[in-house]
């Protein structure tokens, strides 16, 4: 930040040319200098290095992992004995808790838990935005307040309730819980987005005799796709990466999800510790793909104030 101020002599200029001169001046002021570039390169390395270390470790033979640091792999990077896929094979289908089943379980949890709340939330958001009814603002404020409520408040009673009706350990138990926990955020994102849609469109639909249902389905839903995608990404990442809810309602039985399985691997010392690296990396592949592919929507959702408490 020690760039010297490079103020162009703009004082005497007027109007447009003055503005243009100012623009040039700030662009000059923003010129990256060597210190800034160095600091940023170091920060980026520091941020990527941990993940990179995991990735390299996951590709090394077990004996090497236990006897030397991952960085030593680069002393001999072309040797055939430096790299192996054994850890991936081992964790994917070997051992007591092969990760392939957990992978499917994670999908089976995350996909419905992402899609089911969307429709419900979209209807509610429409009503909050385009309909008049007593108590509307208060109910919406309640949703806003619920954004920050930690899920933990619901776990003890829900666990007891699920136990009574025999739902513990099943997928619907988690779908419903995630749908409920995600609802405030979903309604919040969608309502805020719908409030920015042009009123005129809705008014003219009304004049043409379209019912609320038709207006919602034909007009508002297609126009709200960006917000729907934003929420879907948030919810999917959140459910896929969740440990607490999965641990409480699914545990480590046959429906164990990836995060719970990997937690089990972390506890293992010595033998099996090598599997952890490969397993962790497998668990990160889908979120990273979603993230890289849909980052624009993700950032848009975040900057529009969508933040789950």
């Amino acid at each position: 930040m020690s760039t010297p101020t490079q103020t162009a002599p703009v004082a005497g200029l007027q109007g447009r040319s003055r503005r243009r001169a100012a623009k040039v001046a700030t662009d000059k002021g923003k010129k990256p200098n060597i210190i800034i570039t160095t600091v940023m390169v170091l920060l980026c390395i520091a941020w990527v290095l941990p993940t990179f270390g995991l990735f390299v470790t996951s590709l090394r033979p077990e004996e090497d992992i236990n006897s030397s640091g991952w960085w030593t792999a680069f002393a001999n990077p072309l040797s055939a004995t430096t790299w192996t896929l054994e850890n991936y094979q081992g964790v994917w289908s070997g051992g007591q808790t092969p990760i392939n089943i957990s992978f499917v379980n994670s999908l089976a949890v995350a996909i419905p838990a992402t899609i089911l709340p969307i429709m419900v939330a979209a209807f509610a958001a429409y009503a909050f935005t385009f309909m008049e009814f007593p108590g509307r603002d208060w109910i919406f404020v309640a949703f806003v307040a619920l954004l920050v409520v930690p899920n933990q408040v619901a776990l003890v009673p829900l666990l007891q309730f699920y136990g009574q009706i025999g739902l513990t350990g099943t997928f619907p138990a988690v779908w419903l819980a995630h749908a409920g926990f995600g609802m405030p955020l979903a309604v919040y994102i969608l309502r805020n987005y719908m409030a920015t849609l042009p009123r005129a469109v809705i008014e003219s639909a009304k004049i043409d005799g379209a019912s609320h249902f038709v207006t919602f389905w034909r007009l508002i839903v297609p126009m709200s796709v960006p917000a729907l995608v934003s929420f879907a990404i948030f919810q999917f990442l959140w459910v896929w990466n969740d440990l607490l809810v999965a641990l409480v309602f699914l545990g480590s039985g046959e429906n164990m999800v990836l995060t719970v399985n990997i937690k089990g691997l972390v506890g293992q010392q010595g033998q099996g510790a090598n599997l952890l690296t490969a397993g962790a990396f497998i668990s990160m592949v889908i979120p990273l793909l979603v993230f890289v592919g849909l980052q624009r929507y993700f950032v848009r959702g975040m900057t529009s104030g969508a933040v789950k408490g």
């Binding site: 800034i36 980026c44 290095l49 933990q152 609802m183 993230f291």
Partner: protein, 329 residues
């Protein structure tokens, strides 16, 4: 085979769930349309928001009330014990340590995340657009990684081997390289070094989030205010602290509060890395161990109620922020 069945079930759940919801709304809508116009206009909004309110009521509000009630009952929720859960917890030195640790997390993690996010946002703003995008993406990327995944990543860094053997953990390799004795870092509770090392994981995960929001705010600062500072001959540092920071301050607070709320209920990192041992326990993990390890639903509920009370001011803040936005809209 088993796997195929699970996937098919999940897909069926999606299809039937979505179709079912649609049919439900459609049928309700049809029924309401049969009503006289005046009644229809009154009832229809409730058809639209009904299911959402029901879900939130069943899975958040009602359980929250139950939790408050259960916090005054014993470990199996079979008898009332008054405020015993609270007094026992607050009186026990182990829970006091939990509170101190949690408080430390609440101070260190948001402060460091926001500070780092701000530094990156400001510096990246000065790179050329391509490098800015790349560096921001790299620092933002951990946002996609689960806390469990992050724990696996950092476990390799904090790994410790006995003195004399080759260190496979990056931290110990550097430490020993500098002439130190290898340490089991996660058990090193003096000065709460181990807790701080766990906080590093969360800061690593969240700095990118702060950076994105702060960066958007910085880009929204009007050029002419900065230019005015330049003309007056202010240094870049003075421009940043006197002109940029005051204008983005509301965003700084919002981001800080958001991270803070997240930190208050963190569970995964501590549970996976240390299980709360070596004096690293925090509220989120203690809740879980009360519920499952100790089988004490009363204590678990009391912990959550205390957490809720601590979060209430931020809830008020959140609602106020929202009201302000609405006025500006």
């Amino acid at each position: 085979m088993d796997i195929a069945i699970k996937l098919i079930n999940a897909l069926l759940a999606v299809v039937f769930g979505v179709l079912g919801a649609l049919v439900l709304y459609w049928v309700l809508n049809k029924i309401v349309e049969k009503l006289p116009n005046k009644v229809e206009d009154r009832v229809k909004p409730w058809v639209f928001i009904g299911p959402a309110v029901l879900l939130v009521g069943l899975f958040l509000i009602y359980p929250a009330i139950r939790t408050i009630i259960l916090s005054f009952a014993n470990s199996t929720s079979t008898a009332w014990v008054g405020t015993e859960n609270y007094t026992n917890l607050l009186g026990s030195s182990s829970f006091q340590q939990v509170l101190i640790n949690t408080l430390l997390w609440m101070i260190v993690v948001p402060t460091m995340s926001v500070a780092l996010g701000l530094v990156v946002a400001v510096l990246a703003d000065r790179l050329n657009p391509r490098n800015e995008k790349l560096s921001k993406s790299l620092i933002f990327m951990p946002m996609a990684i689960s806390m469990v995944g992050a724990a696996a990543i950092w476990k390799i860094i904090y790994e410790a081997k006995p003195a004399g053997s080759t260190q496979t953990g990056l931290l110990n390799a550097i430490w020993v390289g500098l002439g130190g004795e290898p340490q089991a870092w996660l058990q090193f509770s003096q000065l709460r070094i181990n807790s701080l090392l766990l906080m590093v994981i969360l800061i690593w995960l969240q700095a990118g989030f702060c950076m994105v929001l702060l960066s958007a705010a910085i880009k929204g600062v009007p050029e002419d205010t900065i230019e005015a500072g330049r003309i007056d001959g202010a240094s870049e540092l003075a421009i940043f602290f006197r002109i940029v920071v005051p204008q983005i301050w509301p965003t700084v607070i919002t981001v800080f509060v958001t991270v803070l709320i997240g930190v208050m209920k963190v569970f995964d990192i501590v549970y996976v890395m240390t299980g709360g041992n070596f004096n690293t326990d925090i509220v989120g993990n203690r809740f879980f161990s009360e519920l499952f390890t100790n089988g004490n639903a009363g204590n678990a509920a009391a912990i959550v109620v205390m957490l809720m009370i601590a979060i209430t001011p931020f809830m008020v803040y959140q609602v106020r922020q929202f009201r302000k936005q609405e006025v500006e809209r």
